[in-house]
Amino acid sequence: MTASNATPEVALEARPAAAAAERGTPLLRRLRRLRWGVAAAAVLLLIVLSAVLAPLIAPHDPLVVDIRHRLAPPAWMAGGTPDHLLGTDQVGRDLLSRVIYGGRISLIVGVAAVILSASIGILLGLAAGYFGGAIDWTIMTVVNIVLTFPFVLLALAVIAVLGPSLPNMIAVLGVAGWPIYARVIRAETLALREREFITAGRALGMSHARLIFRQILPNLVSAGVVIATLQVAQVIVLESFLSFLGLGVQPPIPAWGNMLGEGRVYMLNSWWIAAFPGAAIFITTLVINLLGNALRDWLDPRLKL
């Protein structure tokens, strides 16, 4: 499984020249080139703000049940009311409010799970790349085991035993996601390890720890940030996968994933129940991806991701 690691090495020969060229360009010109990323960042900020300010923005309480007004269509359709702009769900809860509040769960889970997997993955990737040998082989074997192990089984195991709570979900998604960090960080570390400033540091008698944390790690930040950004989007989608299996955040707490899961039978008639959370996932994921692309182009254009 070492093939993919060689590519960064191959690319790195070309890297210094390109990176230098980038840094020379004036800031505004770079920003203009990345205008899509800037736009994406703005939209993402809006989404995050609406999630944070949910109690102020949401027109209704997302948990209030009103069975007399269940399955009401969005306001612009026949049978809809302006009171419920996006309609109501199968027990009469306001969809707009639920979508707004749902963003909280998705974003919290996304960020928390990614922080967890990034921490584990970067540390292990560093260790594997820096120390090499048996440590490297062991860590990469574990990486392969985790990658080959069916995520469903892991998720079912943890959540069936410990219960489907938010922390457990974050734990499962975090544990499932660290291998990709380990792989990429390992490759980057391998390359950096051979550079002069490291070998010089060893010659000067610097300790391993100092070398790793003071010299190598700062160079990995860009790689880490880019991967992390893109992984947030991935985790949000995985959350809906877990909800499909009935393992995600439990109703009645609104989360985009479980709203989609509940709404999938209704796609044939009351399509709005699944459509709006689905649109929310789509827009958020898209925006995060665009931002991630832009970050990569800004920080480290040579990254394979």
Partner: protein, 512 residues
């Protein structure tokens, strides 16, 4: 362009490899297609816990007696008549000229072999509990058998509809593992092929003793996703589906390709309250709290708005179709003021906290929505409900049996398709039974008396008393009798069955 051609080639290659598929000689006109959301574990009905196995059993096998769906009375099938010789002996006469699918004749020794096998404690037969009151079967002659029962057994005739007749020759020569995949019965269809968890193909038994099914082939497809199942009905891939959610009925009705059929079914839903304190002390040990819970919920409104009217309100757990149901007993009507007062009287002037254990939607339609509505109603009366969701049905059932699922949880009961009050009272209300969270000696005495007399009038009186007790004591939070909803293709004529057992051999093409 070469690089794009390569994946394209792979694609086509994969298609070519997968082509063989399931080509068969059937045509659309001679096949009827039925779908299930999950497959059976075995074609040996007494060995399976699943309702699907019962349904499939009706197609390959016959029973000694069956229920007439229109009159709802039990009538002869493989048995032509039965009578009591004495209080603990029933004599049953068998139909002549019936053959099994392998050609061997159906006689009394097959009845004995079937029951001996089911009642044998060394085997793992699920059905044993249903027939535990039968001590043994004697062969009197080729077409007469005698059943000896452990005390008077008024449900004997009802329970004759619950056991398929299997071949003595097969039992003796083949064994359980073979029988799980090869049903040799006397029924209207024979099994041709079973692709586990995918589909079954059955062919008409042209030597059937009774009315032969119209369709030569019956295909049973397994479709786990409800939305897909409905889509298949609408696009003509499936002819009959069951358990249609009430909210999706309009999709089917408006499609022009299919319609819905409904029928009240025996299954009755309720919220069990831990009066017996199996899980420890809890507010529901106090009758006032239980009554308050019943008075808080607007069950009629929920039936009307959430179930689109598809539910039959019940005063207790006894279903209107069951023997012994008291039509004069009126259910609780929502009264929030009274509920609040009762809670205050019970010592909870500021409301009470309870935990509500819920499970995945398995049998009850729209259970999540109805739960949401119930919880909302209870909150208005002062119940602060904390909801706990258990995602796995097996785990759920296990916890219920262990007494760990209180103080409040969803439960429904199918009566094992026995249309009799005893079929729910014993398992769900009797003190000490694994599925019962209620303990009341007076009720236990009524249950014991009710099931040990053969006098129908006496039994009715006993069950009226029992229902009054259950109502006044508000044993559980009573909901409603369920209504099953079926989706039926417009090319087929088919009636929704009141006992939840689909009989595809009765389906005929719809006349234009």
């Amino acid at each position: 362009m070469r690089r794009v051609a390569l994946p394209g080639l792979v694609f086509l290659l994969v298609f070519a490899l997968a082509w063989p598929g399931l080509a068969s000689a059937q045509t659309k006109e001679d096949t009827i297609v039925y779908s299930l959301q999950s497959d059976v574990d075995s074609w040996d009905p007494p060995a399976s816990v699943l309702r699907e196995a019962i349904i499939l059993g009706y197609h390959a096998f016959d029973h000694l007696a069956t229920r007439d769906l229109k009159t709802r009375r039990v009538g002869p099938n493989l048995a032509t008549s039965w009578k009591n010789v004495d209080d603990t002996t029933w004599e049953v006469k068998l139909r002549q000229g019936v053959k099994f699918h392998d050609g061997s004749p159906f006689t009394a020794k097959d009845v004995k072999a079937t029951f001996d096998r089911v009642l044998d404690p060394a085997k793992k037969m699920t059905a044993r509990g249903n027939h535990a009151k039968i001590k043994g079967v004697e062969v009197v002659d080729d077409y007469t058998v005698r059943f000896k029962t452990d005390g008077p057994y008024p449900l004997f005739v009802e329970r004759l509809t619950a056991q398929v007749m299997q071949s003595e020759k097969v039992i003796r020569e083949k064994g359980d593992q073979w029988m799980a995949e090869n049903p040799i019965g006397t029924g209207p269809y024979k099994l041709v092929k079973w692709n586990r968890k995918q589909d079954h193909l059955l062919v008409r038994n042209d030597d059937y003793w009774g009315p032969k099914p119209h369709y030569k082939y019956l295909r049973i497809r397994i479709i786990p996703e409800k939305a897909t199942e409905i889509a298949e009905l609408l696009s003509g891939g499936v002819d009959v589906i069951k358990a249609v959610p009430p909210d999706q009925m309009d999709v089917i009705e408006k499609s022009g390709a299919a319609r819905t059929g409904t029928s009240p079914i025996l299954r009755t839903a309720m919220l069990q309250l831990d009066q017996a304190a199996r899980g420890g002390p809890n507010p529901f040990t106090d009758r006032k709290v239980r009554q308050a819970a019943n008075l808080a919920v607007d069950a009629d409104g929920i039936i009307k708005h959430v179930l689109n009217g598809l539910g039959d309100r019940v005063a207790t757990g006894i279903n209107p179709m069951a023997f012994g149901w008291d039509a004069n007993l009126k259910p609780y009507k929502q009264d929030l003021a009274a509920a609040k007062k009762l809670l205050a009287d019970a010592g909870y002037p500021n409301g009470v906290d309870i935990v509500f254990n819920e499970g995945p939607p398995v049998v009850e339609p729209a259970i999540q929505q109805t739960n949401d509505a119930i919880v909302a109603d209870m909150a208005k009366a002062g119940f602060r409900v904390k909801r706990n969701y258990v995602g796995d049905n097996t785990v759920l059932v296990a916890r219920v049996k262990e007494g760990k699922f209180g103080p409040m949880f969803n439960w429904s009961w199918g009566y094992y398709s026995v249309f009799d009050a005893d079929a729910i009272l014993f398992d769900v209300f009797k003190c000490g039974e694994p599925y019962s969270y209620y303990c009341n000696k007076e009720l236990d005495d009524l249950i014991a008396t009710g099931r040990s007399t053969l006098d129908a009038k006496k039994r009715t009186e006993i069950y009226v008393k029992a229902q009054k007790l259950l109502f006044d004591d508000a044993a559980y939070l009573y909901k409603w009798g369920l209504r099953g909803v079926w989706g039926i293709s417009n090319r087929v004529e088919y009636t929704a069955p009141a006992d939840e057992v689909d009989r595809l051999f009765l389906a005929t093409p719809r006349k234009k």
